[in-house]
């Protein structure tokens, strides 16, 4: 595919290589355990930023309720490993000396990804079909509504049919998996996310979405099938986010109010706002800025974390509307072909 021969693909490739190296180091037990843990986190935040970019940054539709897809992915995963096959997994683990065999882990991971994909694509497709007719704030609010409808339906289902505590949680059975196992799961989803998001950006779909973002009506008149393109973008964006829900759930557990939390969407949006709208590299840079800031505010600022985050959001949006990549592309036009 010629698309991958563009100069800007180097950035995508670099990311895949860097995180592969970190994984390799972790596998060989070189370096601290923190490296693996932080690496996973960072991959997830980059991945989520890219997922949001497909609908927001490329197409201009701010999916404020995008956390619904993370929640769906997480729920799909939890449904399988914490409910339906929970006993089976425990049995296999016991028979295998305390840790799940790799084959089983992979099998269930893939199953969870598939189920999550089904949930996400169906939801994004059906709801998107209706909701993408709305513009601007109404679209954003509709996605918030979607997030809560799904969350409360899941809670209802958990409470009355799965009988989990309070209807909020599903804890994973202990599977004897280590951090490095989770790292590779994250890495798998990371590669998919990078390749898909990059491809969307540089393909004809990406051009169409950019036109939609700039002036949707003019784009339609110029021949862009705006509705179809928006729908495809929304489905892809939702699908990618749901995959991260699975990766995240394997590592922890499913908690409805956490996994459907709008804060996820906001951070995904923030990464795009900081990094710059309209480019593949935007949310990547945004994540690299956001992640250390978040770490700093959480560990050092402690109780001030949210206050600082809130003020940061206000400042970023008020004073740097173009984002870092936007500023770079404007000031250094020769960098444009790398910063797609």
């Amino acid at each position: 595919m010629e698309v991958f021969k563009r100069p800007s693909f180097y950035i995508a490739l670099a990311l895949i290589i860097i995180f592969g190296i970190i994984g390799g180091l972790g596998q060989a037990n070189i370096g601290s355990a923190q490296l693996v843990a932080n690496g996973m986190d960072l991959m997830m935040w980059i991945g989520l930023g890219l997922a949001m970019a497909v609908i927001m940054s490329y197409a201009g539709y701010v999916s404020f309720g995008h956390s619904v897809f993370i929640g769906l992915g997480s729920f799909a995963s939890a449904y399988l490993i914490a409910y339906k096959y929970s006993d089976y997994l425990i049995k296999v683990k016991m028979a295998h000396g305390g840790a799940l065999p790799t084959g089983t882990t992979i099998k269930f991971f893939v199953m969870a990804l598939l189920l999550a994909s089904v949930f996400a694509v169906l939801t994004a497709g059906l709801v998107g079909y209706a909701v993408l007719r709305l513009r601007g704030a109404f679209f954003a609010i509709a996605t918030i509504g979607l997030n809560y409808v799904v969350m409360y339906l899941v809670i209802f289902y958990l409470k009355n049919y799965i009988h989990s505590l309070e209807g909020l949680e599903l804890g994973n059975p202990s599977m004897g998996l280590t951090n490095i196992d989770f790292y590779w799961m994250h890495y798998f989803v990371f590669i998919i996310t990078i390749l898909v998001a990059y491809y969307v950006r540089v393909s004809k779909l990406g051009y169409g979405l950019a036109a939609i973002r700039e002036d949707e009506d003019a784009a339609e008149i110029a021949g862009v099938d705006t509705f179809r393109y928006k729908l495809i973008a929304f489905i892809i964006a939702g699908w990618l986010a749901s995959l991260w829900g699975v990766a995240k759930e394997f590592r922890g557990s499913f908690v409805a109010t956490d996994d459907f939390n709008l804060l996820y969407s906001v951070i995904m949006i923030l990464e795009n706002a900081i990094g710059g709208i309209g480019s593949f590299t935007g949310p990547i840079i945004g994540s690299f800025i956001y992640y250390p800031l978040k770490w700093y505010t959480q560990t050092i600022a402690g109780v001030f974390a949210l206050v600082i985050l809130g003020i940061l959001i206000i400042l970023v949006v008020t004073f740097t509307p173009e984002g870092v990549v936007g500023i770079l592309r404007r000031k250094y036009p020769r960098l444009r072909k790398y910063l797609e």
Binding site: A211, A222, G223, V224
Partner: protein, 261 residues
Amino acid sequence: MAVNGYILRVENVTKRFGGLVALDHVTFSVKQGEILGLIGPNGAGKTTLFNVISGVYKPEEGRVIFKNTDITGWKPHKIAHLGIARTHQIVRPFGDLTVLENAMIGALFGKRSDEITEEEARKIAEEVLDYVGLGEKKDLPARVLNVQEKKRLELARALSAEPELLLLDEVLAGLTPTEVENMLILLRRIRLEKNITIIMIEHVMHAVMNLADRIVVLHFGRKIAEGTPEEVANNPEVITAYLGDPALALRFVKKFRSGVA
């Protein structure tokens, strides 16, 4: 393939917005390869007519037929794929994209949208940009262009779609006399070299009278005249309704008066 040499037929098109009749049973045909001027006072319904032809509005009555295909009520992007491109009264460039990318959008989603590759689109866009004189600015973001350049960019975007029918909505508005002249030269070249049929909405009277083969005049949504520039300019109803160019009107008022006893 045009029927009887007509590439577009507008039949009885009526468009209402609530109680307002914006277009009232408008009927006319456009010959392939001609330049048709669409004039009329402000609010006459000219842009509305363009919106109906390009699919933005669906008319309450009437049909729009493009080369034998009834395109009434089709979605705009489908109409663009058939080979109709248009520019807008107030320029709508894709500001954050480069000039080249703007033109490429035209090529990627125009007549050959089903099979065109990015490389081909890029080549077409570059050629068209050179043609309209924007070649040197192709890597600049579109929003830094001035008005004249933005109009040329809109034109480039439309031309990149390789249309058979080009709808120009006041492409000369806001240009200085020199810029108008330059644009006219360009439009003549386009008609000659690319064999594109053009419908142009214009208020710059001398330009459209000079350039157009035939003229259709709208007033309050109705067609009140159709014919060559001379025929139309002599039409008393047109003169009464539309003193767009005082010099022109005066010339014909004098002519008219001298013919009356």
